[in-house]
């Protein structure tokens, strides 16, 4: 159970100490500061909001900075804070999107800008359904892993919107920190609301390939990628890190990981989807 409480706006008072971890934008501006607050965590998004995450990750309280909309804070919560809070619950969450093909889940992992959401949206407007556009939550089920559906919306930059989304598709209200629009699932952007077995996970390359290229990863390579793409709130707590590393090692042992690179041209997305589907089916997707 994840509990979220939106508190009244308050100014961001200076913190007593330096953060124990910081996420920065490419220009080195801080995007998220990770502080300790008693036994809990305080995540500060400068000039946007403060979030207090309980030590067990089950409850989150948010204080918007003055003038920041509730919608912005909820957006930050869903996309940034919730996956971190879930990591405190011992859950496995990745920077990855996922779609349902042939009754099973295909996941696409990559840093921001690698095209996770664009690829998921491309499938979701072309007959398949998406499970998440980021914050991929996996749960073990016997020897397999289930992908849990997340929020039924996809965030896209303007160029991807123009290429993929037909006019009139419902959107969530705009938020103040990004020009990405959030498209709500429906008849045009189809969403899968039931968990699906993880069949393949593709790590997205930088777009250097002239045609879709898929290559398998060895388990050790997969483990390194999984570590690099997972959400973790507290990178200093050894016991939880060890458990996290164990879980990822178990996950990495399955032969389901591949590098995927393809040219970043919208006109070629249909070919990219076809290559991915053929690859997944050749490897034995079953419903």
């Amino acid at each position: 159970m994840d509990e979220f409480a939106l508190e009244p706006a308050r100014a961001q008072a200076p913190m007593a100490g330096a953060p124990f971890h910081v996420w920065v934008f490419p220009d080195s501006t801080p995007w998220t500061e990770f502080h300790r607050s008693g036994r809990n965590y305080l995540l500060r998004f400068p000039e946007l909001a403060d979030f207090e995450v309980a030590r067990d990750g089950r409850t989150v309280r948010a204080w918007p900075a003055p003038g920041v909309t509730e919608e912005t804070v909820r957006h930050l919560y869903l996309n940034q804070v919730l996956p971190l809070a879930q990591s405190r619950q011992g859950k496995i969450v990745f920077h990855a999107s996922a779609v349902e093909v042939g009754g099973a889940a295909l996941a696409f992992a990559g840093e921001s800008g690698r095209g996770k959401s664009t690829l998921a949206a491309s499938f979701a407007v072309s007959g398949a359904r998406f499970l998440t556009d980021d914050g991929l939550l996996l749960e073990p089920r016997g020897a397999e892993w289930l992908v849990r559906p997340s929020h039924p919306s996809i965030r896209l930059w303007e160029d991807s919107q123009e290429a993929l989304i037909v006019a009139g598709t419902p959107t969530a209200p705009p938020v103040s920190y990004t020009s990405k629009a959030r498209f709500l699932a429906g008849e045009r952007v189809r969403f899968c609301s039931e968990p699906r077995r993880l069949h393949r996970m593709y790590f997205l390359g930088a777009g250097a390939a002239g045609a879709p290229r898929i290559a398998p990863l060895r388990p050790a390579e997969a483990l390194i990628e999984l570590v690099g793409h997972s959400f973790l709130l507290d990178i200093e707590e050894r016991e939880q890190l060890a458990a996290h590393f164990d879980e990822l090692s178990r996950l990495a042992a399955a032969p389901i990981y591949f590098r995927l690179d393809f040219p970043r041209r919208y006109a070629e997305l249909a070919g990219v989807r076809a290559a991915i589907e053929a690859h997944a089916r050749a490897e034995g997707v079953t419903a």
């Binding site: 060895r218 390579e221 483990l223 390194i224 990178i235 590393f245 090692s249 042992a253």
Partner: protein, 90 residues
Amino acid sequence: MNLQSKVAIPEEVMTRRVGDETVILDLATGTYFGLDRVGADMWQLMGEGRTLAEVCDAMQALYEATREQLERDVVELAEKLRAQGLIRAA
């Protein structure tokens, strides 16, 4: 690093075996290193508090390699791991 050196593995560094390989990771810094089976054996012996010369002694019992080759490989691996902060001189 030389053959008389002993090394220690920092507390925050973790190791996991996956398939035929071993991954050494410092999650706090995001540093990682992949080892094949031979490298993983060297790593394990280094972590037991032996000098690098003693690591070579043990490796000689496990693998068919010349002493000279083993010494070069063990010292080279120790240097690489130290440069990444995954071991330190004891």
